[in-house]
């Protein structure tokens, strides 16, 4: 019932925006900007400052909202845009800082191995975040959507544009990777 009401509300907002009502877009921003910022933060490896990417996401929303046909929920559409923008952003950053990234990766790995005693402190969670961040996008994105955003398998697969089976396979492989990387933490 709530989902239905949300969808009707979204359709109304999109219609209002298509008719030239800017306040409709402001309402969309108010409603979803926090969620998008959080998702962006998670997808980019918790950098904290994600304003530029979020601005880009909402620019894409602003340009494409008139073409949105409400076949899925607005939230799913926004999340799809977010994932695509984050991929682009990471790819550009990787190209720009390829050498620097290698050095940083080495440093982080060395640092992680040097830690003694697996206490549930900040350093431990940093290690978890780094492990997620170091995963390829095809494993990181399902993990973020499923376990951190709390989306269903159906919704996640729709957002990622893959089948549910593929999503399950990717989740399974991502878990294996994390188990391998964080074996001590998970066994405790």
């Amino acid at each position: 019932m709530v989902v239905m009401a949300e969808k009707i509300d979204d359709e109304f907002l999109v219609k209002q925006f298509s008719q030239g009502d800017d306040s409709a877009f402001n309402r969309i921003v108010e409603q979803y900007s926090a969620d998008i910022a959080v998702l962006t933060n998670r997808l980019l490896g918790w950098p904290g400052d994600v304003e530029d990417v979020v601005q880009d996401i909402f620019l894409a929303v602003f340009v494409g909202l008139k073409k949105f046909r409400c076949e899925c929920s607005l939230k799913s559409w926004l999340f799809t845009i977010t994932i695509n923008k984050c991929r682009t952003y990471r790819y550009k950053r990787m190209l720009r800082l390829k050498i620097f990234s290698k050095a940083a990766g080495k440093m982080s790995r060395t640092h992680s191995r040097a830690t003694d005693g697996w206490l549930m402190d900040n350093e431990t969670f940093n290690r978890v975040r780094r492990a997620v961040k170091a995963m390829p996008a095809k494993y990181r994105e399902p993990i973020v959507l499923r376990y951190l955003q709390g989306l269903s398998i159906n919704e996640s697969s729709r957002i990622l544009g893959i089948s549910e089976n593929v999503l399950q396979v990717r989740l399974n492989r991502a878990r294996k990777r994390l188990r391998r990387e964080l074996a001590e933490l998970i066994e405790e």
Binding site: A37, N41, R42, V50, E51, F125, L148, L178
Partner: protein, 204 residues
């Protein structure tokens, strides 16, 4: 369950990372950026097309200029060839003229040599005159000495003097006549022939 553990671990890690800084979205800024992006998306292909057109135009212009330069070079070379041909013709004509002059000079030299080889007719005539006068004197001497034809001899001497007055024969004839006159004078006084002809040429 390991899945729950992983999920729990991930959620705790996410919570400890904190919430991202709030993002302020301004619709006017977005509109401006969208317009700029639209402008760029339209202007970029136009600029690229214009750049291509300019490049093609410049290339064509360069080609045309190169072609013109080539044509100018060809025209200049043709002109130079024509000038060289004219100069060669002039030189050839000059050479022909010089050769012709040389040939003429050679012919002239040959003719002059031939002319030089031809004896002087005046000298020849003079020689013949001298020879004739001498022959007449010789015959007159024979007539007077051997045939005793005194009057014929005197006539012949006088004829020599008359016909060839400037010759050596005429001098001899004069001498003979004076000698005959002297002999006549002496004969008249003594009645004996004393005269004996002198200077008679023995070779004739």
């Amino acid at each position: 369950m390991p899945e729950d553990k992983i999920k729990n671990l991930l959620q705790k890690a996410d919570e400890t990372a904190g919430v991202p800084a709030p993002v302020s979205i301004n619709i006017s800024t977005l509109r401006r950026r969208a317009n700029r992006r639209r402008f760029v998306s339209i202007a970029t292909p136009i600029a690229a097309a214009a750049a291509i057109l300019i490049a093609v135009g410049l290339y064509g212009f360069t080609l045309r200029a190169a072609k013109t330069t080539h044509q100018q070079k060809i025209a200049l070379l043709e002109m130079q060839i024509e000038q060289l041909q004219a100069r060669a013709e002039a030189t050839s004509n000059l050479v022909q003229e010089v050769l012709q002059n040389e040939r003429k000079q050679q012919r002239l030299d040959e003719l002059q040599a031939q002319l030089a080889s031809i004896p002087d007719p005046l000298e020849e005539i003079q020689k013949q005159v001298d020879t004739t006068a001498f022959n007449l004197v010789y015959q007159a001497d024979r007539m007077y000495r051997e045939l005793n034809l005194k009057s014929s001899a005197i006539r012949t001497y006088k004829r020599v003097i008359e016909l060839f007055p400037e010759t050596h024969g005429a001098e001899v004839a004069r001498e003979r006549l004076s000698e005959i006159k002297n002999i006549k004078y002496k004969k008249d006084s003594k009645g004996d022939l004393l005269w004996k002809p002198q200077n008679v040429p023995s070779s004739c």
